[in-house]
């Protein structure tokens, strides 16, 4: 882990890993799409069940990304390692995209199934808060010019904001809601049929691998940019 924290090693390692990661993401997404459109309509939800194959993976990835952002922030704060700061910073815009997709696809699913684009219940509201946390994190980072100060302030925001993750997770148990409860990762096994579970699993895998692929590329980009900046500073006439 800390071997990889050396930027040079990280560049070698991530460069070798990326083609496999991106290839696996593409395969999983393709297979998920094919199975998703070959699945029969759900007996209650009809064909809107196909929105689930986008909505649930987006929401999961958005939450995972925030968890990773918060973890990287802790490592950045405690160990003062620049690579952890870079990892946290570069995860945020990606997380925001997946969060926005979770909200939009949820809205497009809620309208035909609940009769409402939006309701202010625990799950939806806490998930909207996740988007604001991401946007606030990005804005805060851009507002502070000094790199390490920005990283520290952002890390604190990210860690405090992590309290929202269990709130999202348990919101469907704590408050009355239109949003359905946990039906996949539950005690006693999933509640949905295999014909829906497979495309859902493949899409979730594809979204996760896509996130990691893009994350690695963004970390690499930031490392190159920082190298260029230090070259400019040291080599400027």
């Amino acid at each position: 882990m800390f071997e990889l924290a050396n930027p040079k090693r990280f560049m070698q390692f991530s460069g070798a890993l990326l083609p496999w990661l991106a290839g696996a993401a593409a395969l999983a997404l393709l297979a998920g799409l094919v199975l998703g459109f070959r699945a029969p309509p759900d007996y209650q939800q009809g064909d809107t069940v196909r929105i689930m194959f986008l909505h649930v993976p987006a929401a999961w990835t958005a939450m995972m990304a925030y968890g990773l952002l918060a973890l990287a922030s802790i490592v950045g704060l405690v160990n003062r390692h620049p690579l952890a700061d870079v990892a946290a910073k570069t995860a945020a815009p990606l997380g925001a995209v997946f969060t926005a997709l979770g909200l939009v696809t949820g809205s497009l699913w809620g309208r035909p199934m609940w009769g409402a684009w939006w309701v202010w219940d625990g799950r939806l509201t806490s998930f909207l808060l996740l988007l604001f946390l991401y946007l606030g994190y990005i804005a805060l980072g851009q507002a502070i010019e000094d790199e390490s100060r920005a990283a520290r302030a952002c890390a604190i925001l990210a860690i405090v904001g992590a309290v929202n993750l269990p709130i999202i997770e348990f919101s469907v148990d704590w408050w009355t809601t239109l949003h359905q409860g946990e039906s996949i990762l539950r005690k006693g096994g999933p509640l949905i049929a295999a014909v829906f579970l497979w495309p859902l699993f493949l899409m979730a895998l594809g979204y996760t691998l896509l996130f990691f692929s893009l994350w690695l590329i963004r970390i690499r980009t930031e490392i190159l940019e920082r190298r260029a900046r230090s070259l400019m500073l040291s080599g400027a006439p």
Partner: protein
Amino acid sequence: MSEFLSQGGYGAYVWPAYAISLAALGAAVALTLAAYRRAKRRLARLEGKL
């Protein structure tokens, strides 16, 4: 074919969900790759100069 497009009458919800997801993720991929290439070119230029 038209049955596929209508998605049991829910096409107006299913297709936008797929179109928006594809557009957003496609844009994320394109922007991420473009920034990477830009940074790579810039560094190469700088290293060539020094």
